[in-house]
């Protein structure tokens, strides 16, 4: 039985709506509970799910629509009541906070000296708001995704013309003047400036710099498309120039997917011209040579180490897997436990592990290979749970661990799974306890393996610092108590996983 409830002209932010959807979905007997704004895409989604098109077609993108499906009207009534409570709670909290200023103009009246706009509105409105912010003379960080590449180029050209920094679109991570914006970790200030086209890549590098006792001057996000041929690295080049002139920055680190040659050449040229050394890591490339003042790093950890070294620090070489640990972990595995399951919340973490293991000759299926046909027989798999196929209508797995928990619960029933490889990303923006949220599923999967006469190694790295509100030490300890092998970086975790499965295959 279906029910559609409409509230005209009720705009609420998507994260709040997703949390309500989740609450409704958890109710007994509710088969489906979606609370969304009636954007064309959402209307299509609901029509596709079989909800009444004629009702949906008449709605505007500012209307709230609740789609409920349950076996009977009693459950639907209960869900509708619950919905009213959830929405009312929000209304009460807003009432006690008093009226808020409206829009960018209202914000500027409330905070006249504002110099940066952080924009996380739905993608179709992000270019409009970013334009207004640029016209008001502000720097801009566009967290929103789903902004067209044409809009991205036009915005970035305008920003360059105005001498303003435009981070994004789809920029998740930045640290500007010591202030964490979006998904970022608490690190001390220091001599290393980071320019990252990838959010989790930037998080991993800044956290490893912090662990080595050094700090970050600025961490600038560019958005994933900045180094594409079309966009031509407009923000990356602007950021390199800023950091080159910034007296507090001694070393520049650039992290990106491997760009097209002409774009790479431009970026490298800018770095070579900067009066300070730089480190470049192209995710997926294992280049480790140096040219002019530029040092290539083959992985995120190496990039952090090299930057620390160039800033005058010393860092021990990266740890190789401890043979005793590998032996201990593989000892009780059953012979049929052959395959890796890499379940990642950070796209760059997944890409790093994938590149490393493929370079070692592994055949791996991954949703990072968009468009590749799925194989019928399952082998090694690396899954980016932050990919659109998992996030449509629900929050990113760094915020909402449920999709990864569900995936691991399913994998627990597969006797061929040999090693589970995880990333755990702490910091602002992330879930309040990403490690703890995984532990019941980890314990269940390990128990199921034991019941089948095997043993399931779970290898993880934690991207975070002790300054993060979730706590690096606390998160690590909780994972270790659950039997997880926690190592110092994402690349180290991939190495341990490789060692265990290769030894198992040979042994």
């Amino acid at each position: 039985m279906d029910r559609l409830i409409v509230r005209k002209d009720t705009y609420l932010d998507s994260v709040f709506l997703m949390s309500i959807s989740a609450d409704l979905g958890r109710m007994d007997g509710v088969q489906l509970g979606q609370v969304v704004l009636a954007t064309p895409a959402n209307r299509q989604l609901l029509t596709g799910m079989g909800f009444e098109a004629s009702t949906l077609d008449s709605l505007a993108p500012t209307d709230l629509v609740v789609a409920l499906r349950a076996a009977d009207a009693v459950v639907l009534d209960a869900a509708e009541k619950k919905l009213a409570e959830l929405l009312a709670r929000r209304a009460t909290s807003q009432a006690t906070e008093g009226p808020r200023p409206l829009g960018l103009e209202g914000g500027l009246q409330a905070l006249p000296g504002a110099n940066l706009a952080l924009i996380s509105v739905p993608g179709e409105y992000a270019a409009y708001e970013a334009r207004k912010a640029l016209n008001a003379g502000m720097h801009v960080m566009v967290f929103s995704d789903n902004v067209s590449v044409e809009d991205e180029i036009a915005l970035k050209q305008e920003a360059v013309r105005r001498g303003r920094l435009l981070m994004g679109p789809d920029c998740g991570t930045a640290i500007v003047q010591g202030v964490m914006l979006g998904f970022a970790n608490k690190v001390r200030r220091g001599p290393i400036g980071v320019v990252g086209a990838s959010g989790t890549g930037t998080q991993e590098v800044t956290c490893l710099v912090e662990k080595a006792g050094f700090g970050i001057s600025q961490a600038i996000g560019t958005g994933g498309r900045d180094l594409s041929e079309k966009v031509g690295a407009l923000t990356t080049l602007f950021a390199i120039d800023m950091l080159a002139r910034d007296p507090n920055t001694k070393v520049i680190v650039v992290i990106s997917k491997p760009p097209a040659k002409p774009v790479a050449d431009k970026v490298l040229e800018a770095l070579a011209k900067a009066p300070k050394p730089s480190v470049v890591h192209f995710v997926g490339s294992n280049r480790s040579d140096s040219e002019r003042s530029i040092h290539f790093a083959p992985d995120l950890e190496s990039a952090a180490r090299k930057a620390v070294e160039l800033a005058g620090g010393k860092s021990a070489p990266s740890a190789n897997p401890d043979p005793a640990l590998v032996a201990r972990e593989r000892k009780a595995m059953a012979p049929q436990q052959k395959w890796l399951r890499g379940l990642f919340t950070g796209g760059t973490m997944a890409a790093e592990a994938l590149a490393f293991l493929r370079a070692a000759g592994w055949k791996i299926q991954s949703n990072l290979d968009h468009g590749a046909a799925a194989q019928s027989a399952r082998g090694h798999e690396i899954i980016d749970l932050g990919d659109d196929e998992f996030t449509r209508g629900r929050p990113h797995p760094m915020i909402e661990p449920a999709p990864r928990v569900e995936t691991l619960m399913r994998e627990a029933e597969d006797p061929a799974v040999g090693v589970v490889l995880l990333d755990v990303v702490l910091g602002n923006g992330s879930h309040e306890d990403p490690a703890g949220a995984m532990i019941p599923a980890i314990e269940h999967a390990r128990k199921r393996a034991r019941e089948r006469g095997g043993y399931l190694p779970v290898i993880a790295s934690v991207t975070g610092t002790d300054g993060d509100f979730q706590g690096l030490a606390r998160s690590t300890a909780a994972l270790e108590r659950a039997g997880v092998v926690v190592v110092g970086s994402n690349i180290q975790a991939a190495r341990v996983a490789r060692a265990i499965l290769e030894e198992a295959a040979h042994g």
């Binding site: 705009y11 932010d13 998507s14 994260v15 704004l37 954007t39 064309p40 505007a60 993108p61 500012t62 808020r100 200023p101 409206l102 829009g103 960018l104 209202g106 914000g107 500027l108 409330a110 905070l111 000296g113 504002a114 110099n115 940066l116 706009a117 952080l118 924009i119 996380s120 509105v121 179709e124 409105y125 270019a127 409009y128 708001e129 334009r131 207004k132 912010a133 016209n135 502000m138 720097h139 967290f143 809009d151 036009a154 305008e158 001498g163 920094l165 500007v176 003047q177 010591g178 202030v179 964490m180 914006l181 979006g182 600025q218 800023m242 002139r245 910034d246 007296p247 602002n428 923006g429």
Partner: protein, 474 residues
Amino acid sequence: MADLFPSELAVINLGLPAFGQDIARQGAAVSSPEWRPPAGGDPATVAALTRMLAWPEAKRQRVAEANREAGKRLVAAQPVAVAVGRALDLVPGMTRKHVLHAGPPLTWERMCGPVRGAVIGGLLFEGLAKTREEAEKLAASGEITFDPCHHHQAVGPMAGIVTASMPVWEIENRAFGNKAYCTLNEGLGKVLRYGAFSQEVIDRLAWMRDELGPALQAAMKSHGPLDMRTLIAQALQMGDEGHNRNRAATSLVIRALGPHLVESDLPKAVVAKVLRFIDGNDHFFLNLSMPSSKAATDAIADIPWSTLIATQARNGTDFGIRLAGLPGRWFTGPATMVDGLYLPGFKAEDAAPDIGDSVITETAGIGGFAMAAAPAIVRFVGGSASDALRFTQQMYEITETENSAYAIPALDFRGTPTGIDVRKVVEKGILPVVNTGIAHKEPGIGMVGAGLVKPPVSAYRNALQAFVETYADK
């Protein structure tokens, strides 16, 4: 360098509230304003607004300057009533085969009940048809030219029908020299403008043509030009808003013209009948406030680069607007049902969709925009006196300027919000407040209520999109 990395970061967080809380926890300055999708979230309109924001500074300045100029002209307007005469003699382009109607262009086939009824009445009145059937046949034959009043420097309330021998007011905008025309108000009940065409309606029109028109013409000749700006300004301080409440202004007209009527050569009985007729119709002045507003807004009918609205009008089928920067182009949406209260014995099902040129008053900065001056009528639209203040105050959000000639006592004599900017309307999602009467959907029954219009937002969005497209490459 200080410019690129500001010494202290101060952030405006638009979107997810959690990001703002995170920044505040770090001790940095942050404001997290409430955010709603611009333009009601309509993708094509947001794209147009975004394009406009991306225009070079010089180009955006041209728009601002054009709007300033248009606003100035509206405020500078000096509408003066100069004469009463026959439509055929005064209204430009008028012929015996013309029937003018309210709103944007409309064919006989698409006319709603009240407009059809009024057309029939007009043809009967002109003697072009003898019966309803004959009139309908003639109307459908193509022999009659249907034209919007607005295409002939005229305006008409409700159905807005103007035919050749009807008497009309002539208003001159002394600041710019342009003229505007409007018929004389027939009163309430069974009247042509609500679609009635019974013998009593035709007889009254004949009396207006034969006695009322000439009497007013004589009085005007004797009195000389009647300054509408001063009269409207006074009326606003006496509880009128110039659209739905015209009681004060009507009284002021009697005061001005009464002695001249009495002194004229007209028979005493005619003078008495004329004065009683005006006194019996609180809306007599509407047909002066409308052409006064038309004379003011026509001065901005063609101002390149301006996004101000020069015309709003409806015909019971379509609601249409024209922009100062896009002369000659109508942007329409479906006429909507009026949100209001009904006279005893009538209900919402009886109502015709929104109709009439009277929304020209709001376009010029009075009517609904001056609601704060007329708390007495808010009850008609189901509100309280504080709503009246709120309506006017909200209109400052979508207007270019204020008209200090029209001062509102309750707002400390602040001028009425004047010059509707289509861009602000669309961007902020605030539609103009429009007061109106409600016509019965069947011809000939008349007024059944009054209330507030909900203009179709599509007309405003389409106009803005067309503006951006037109000026994109200029």
